[in-house]
Subunit: 323 residues, 2 copies
Amino acid sequence: MSHDLIEKLFVRYFDNEILQQQGDSALLKLPANTISFTTDSFVVDPLFFSGGNIGKLAIAGTVNDLAVSGAEPLYMSASFIIEEGFSLNELEEIVKTMAQEAKKAGVKIVTGDTKVVDRGKCDKVFINTTGVGYLPKKNRVISSGEKIKPGDKIIINGSIADHGMCIMAARNDLNISSAIKSDCAPLNGLIKEALAVSNNIKFMRDATRGGISTILNELVSGKEFGLEIDEKEIVVHENVKGICELLGFDPFYVANEGKVIMVVAPEDASKVIETIKKNEFGKEASIIGEITEAHPGKGWIITGIGGRRVIDMLAGKQLPRIC
Amino acid sequence: MSHDLIEKLFVRYFDNEILQQQGDSALLKLPANTISFTTDSFVVDPLFFSGGNIGKLAIAGTVNDLAVSGAEPLYMSASFIIEEGFSLNELEEIVKTMAQEAKKAGVKIVTGDTKVVDRGKCDKVFINTTGVGYLPKKNRVISSGEKIKPGDKIIINGSIADHGMCIMAARNDLNISSAIKSDCAPLNGLIKEALAVSNNIKFMRDATRGGISTILNELVSGKEFGLEIDEKEIVVHENVKGICELLGFDPFYVANEGKVIMVVAPEDASKVIETIKKNEFGKEASIIGEITEAHPGKGWIITGIGGRRVIDMLAGKQLPRIC
């Protein structure tokens, strides 16, 4: 598998007028000069799973990091580290998926790099994607969350823990694995629709590694407000719940790849919910809690049976190679 | 070695006001809305070598890709894939070097990512850097090379093959290895100085993987002009020449990490040479050849003894993990 062959593959699938310049850098004209910029390396194991593959993840992950900052994802780089002897067919499948997902998300892959390492020096393929998005002026305060106030509603666009448990099931060769599908999806369309109906979305973050608990914890940590989550409003699919119990995971700490947590002013919350429910990635959206004046710096979960438990940071090691 | 520990390391050394926002994306204000955008993954083996380490390479490589497009490097992402059990001291040494080199080059590392994989699933550490630079209007034609004409001079800022042979010597445990130092260096300063004295720099490219032959070949391939290189103007240090002969490499095909090839209008060539000779990375700069009307699409080397040989693309496999 030569460099040349691989690069032809990328040019064929990622084809666009900027990539065709074929320099070592891409020249980009942006609609304005304030941008959002983000990077992620993807090392997921296995490479292919129900609902996606490493390529889909590499596009969706970076698109989502841009979108939650309030930016419109525009351009992306893609860099591959490939193990000598990795199947060209599988690589083509991954690249094809990336091209499809990039098209869906409306981003162009404009520059890239390939390194091949000897057998045993990496695990099949690792992908880095780095994204550039245009940040409209009105969205510039979203990423800091500085406008958040007690009474604001906390929204999520659907069920939790699907991605992490899909990967764990696949890795453990559990028979039920086929039933759990990763939620991996680019959310920029859904987010754009929500931002179009409300100027009061005050914070967004995609709940990836560390799950929703990690985001909810960061949201209040060191702040003058707290939050409360109503556990019965959190959707956990039955098969995901089952495998969480089987393997001993708390779904609140399990990675998602297509879930955004939003903080929205109370007067706009139902409008935002209605809008995102119409999107294919928001059908199970719900208001899961709110920002409180009480217990500043702390998040509490109101459990199904009326109890309360604090939302901690994940203790111990994160699951490796979930994304 | 926990994620937390690693991320603290990055924040400590790469410290700047944008990184401190600590979102998943960095918000950047650029001086204008035309940018240059480039990515590279670094997998060099060994990690530490005479004249640098993987961290220096990761900064210089991306800075140089931006600079040769005519852009001023401004911001960079840094993404790490780390093998479980990799020495925290070595990681710190690499990160420290990256911070120093970024400072020298005047770029800020504004966002990042870390993935840890099990022992044996990568080789110590791989680093991706992706860069954003501001592209002044007058430099926008450089990267296409569309203004190149017969008679234009071809310039290089110094000796060739140092980086590749430094790595090969280190890898082969040759005793002479200590004498060969990689030329790894950020060239944006030198390039900026050259652009300040001449509006007739028509093309620039850093001669990395594949060496100067690959760049010279690409420069004329499919074009209506050719080029001629005067072999006696090419500087190859004696120790590099020696190891090239020993290991059977042609220095024209060996990677550099601090060398830029420029095509300059004849009336500006000596002015540009004088300027870059004053820079610490340009002391051995020379005019190595010129663009010709003759043999369009082909580059020829006029050898020391008055013979000629054609500049081919590298036949066979490139050296793996040189950068």
